[in-house]
Symmetry: C2
Subunit: 456 residues, 2 copies
Amino acid sequence: MTVITPTKILLDESELPTQWYNIVPDLPAPPPPPLHPVTRAPLGPDDLAALFPPALIEQEVTAARYVDIPGEVLDVYRLWRPSPLIRAYRLERSLDTPARIYYKYEGGSPAGSHKPNTAVPQAFYNAKAGIRRLTTETGAGQWGTALAFACAQYDMGCEVWQVRASYDQKPYRRMMIEAFGGTIHPSPSTLTAAGRAILATHPDSTGSLGIAISEAVEVAAASADTNYALGSVLNHVLLHQTVIGEEALAQLAKVGETPDLIVGCAGGGSNLGGLILPFLREKLAGRQSPTLLAVEPTSCPSLTRGVYAYDYGDTAGMTPLVKMRTLGHDFIPDPIHAGGLRYHGMSPLLSHIHELGLMEARAIGQRACFAAGVRFARTEGILPAPEPTHALAVAIEEALRCKESGEQKVILVGLSGHGHLDLSSYDAYLSGAMGDHSLDEAQLRATVAALPAVPA
Amino acid sequence: MTVITPTKILLDESELPTQWYNIVPDLPAPPPPPLHPVTRAPLGPDDLAALFPPALIEQEVTAARYVDIPGEVLDVYRLWRPSPLIRAYRLERSLDTPARIYYKYEGGSPAGSHKPNTAVPQAFYNAKAGIRRLTTETGAGQWGTALAFACAQYDMGCEVWQVRASYDQKPYRRMMIEAFGGTIHPSPSTLTAAGRAILATHPDSTGSLGIAISEAVEVAAASADTNYALGSVLNHVLLHQTVIGEEALAQLAKVGETPDLIVGCAGGGSNLGGLILPFLREKLAGRQSPTLLAVEPTSCPSLTRGVYAYDYGDTAGMTPLVKMRTLGHDFIPDPIHAGGLRYHGMSPLLSHIHELGLMEARAIGQRACFAAGVRFARTEGILPAPEPTHALAVAIEEALRCKESGEQKVILVGLSGHGHLDLSSYDAYLSGAMGDHSLDEAQLRATVAALPAVPA
């Protein structure tokens, strides 16, 4: 049977989800609790109060299946949501596959990625709690852009510490953060004790995400009207991102489709979690049976080569200990172009779901990803960010497998953002200058051996 | 009465226009004919046959009110069309205006602007005529990007000559053209006689749009399987762009609105024409009565300071003579950031409409435009290209005037593209390094005095 669907499956604004979905109460077992970094006892809500407002701490640990999205957040979501689900007809034709490929596109947001889905509510709840300024770190700059935009909606200040290497090499992200009204500092900076300590010993330091986190957290902790915001990994971040999956579910239902395979890229896990968690609810309830697949870079493969253990979220070991798939908090991956996937760990919630056997994972090399990105751009007209090319590459592999087998699989891809500010990466690929990066096995052995010990 | 409209007014794919609209037969007088550059007699269709396929030559001169859009073009349009019409609620609130502001957003296209609306049909008709390669020139790079994408849809080669100054200073556009499969050369190049002639006398030439046109035309004219494509100015280009206005008309009707003011930026005129021509049809038929307003830079004001006269479309004087508002084909405007508005002339069709008193025009300085762009980004979440900030600046002025008068005007703005690849311009503005440019009056006197003489 040939299914005829429109190219773009759109939802009306009246169909915008009004609740976020929390998978935790629907799982067969709860995820292990986070531990205090010093006492190593389970973390209490008070331990997070210096950095986060009460509403977000509540969402981090809630047992409720659904959380209402405030009207003030929906008003901002409406600028770009519901986001389109698109049938990749032209890609399918170029592959000559019987598979039907759909992609959920988050690149139409103000930051050009899924990040504003959580930046906006985080800014809103902080503003409501009387906070006047948010600090954060950013690597490539996607998260900093999203938070700067979100803070502008609620008349809050936004201060971003960006890893100096990115700050110097990719100035367009800095400019976009400033255009949205954010303030940006290269990290390490002289504005914090953490930054000054690094600069005292390494005056030419090009920074790291771990240092930038330390600077942003230090400033937030020292000031009563300032909080810190994190763009991935945590439960409340994945919660906010479930608008992606809820919409995709409704959009596929509109055209009478149920997915056989859902594939997304996974760095900290917020894009993937946002896409798959509503579908996992359907799967656990026996209403759908998609394979859920995380794709990560071969050079930073927390799900496929990491261990499931308690570890710090940051390099410096200042955050709570969370049980997750990790390469070890000291692990420094090769500088691949998909900066958003260069994280040593994986969302504890997704790690737990993976451990329960409810989600699969695969690793893929950088050049195969960019080949998929170019193919996608030329057929579908969207130049994808380097991160979601990981999902596209696997979707294309699967579609070609369908061509061999004749299967008419329905494949849903998370296309988390556009690559307009990543064109230099495409240039490196097209000019033949891009290498593949393999896993640094020796480093991995060392960083896994150095994982912190926790009470049984 | 308060009108409640959704933030985004979307059309279904079934509501995508299936015909382009040609205003010519509805005008009270026909536009003056183009003249042969050598004989200065009215141009015949054969005079264009070396550069354009029969279907486009026919569309250039057609007396039909509507032209069917081929199914193969609609299939590509569906990747991003119908484009959204968006109610600028958050901008209105920041201005505290009773005006209702809507913007028609073309930035979701593969090139990030309105240009693919004509690039796609131009590539299609050329492919259908057996042409295997298109050549073109590009300044900032928007048009080259659109044509590279369009050629990829019909398996044609695309060769772009880009003004060397832009090629060197704004490498992201080159990279995007290459990602879509196009070939790009800095102009002047050693590949053409025209380029070699320039390089022989000016080895360090940074090029000009006029030289790039000469190179692209030379290559197209010399090869039977190669044609040339132009991204603005001509009648068939404006014809293709009318999908913008047809959609906006349907979208406003959906929410029961009729516009009092329609404002767009005008360089060669294709974006503005595409937006306003369907509304002008309604106005001429007495069904609507919007003011139609073109906005141009003070430093390149063809409509507000140019003369209405026969002139060449290019700097070198190789093209047909067309009657248009012009600053003189030798006029070189200051290097403002809105590269798409740095053209000495104006679409002959729009110039004629202006002459008939059916369209108004206003000029505005660069800094006011970027101020509007930043305000728009922070409220609406879209960073506009420098060109449409001209329209936004005037819309904001008008909305503030409504605040004084209490008028509830309905303002429709053409938001022709995003500014993701123009961030360095925003950086110059935000850092205070951007100047305003005024009109070079002495140059204008000289270039107008040098206009070609034509038979009465």
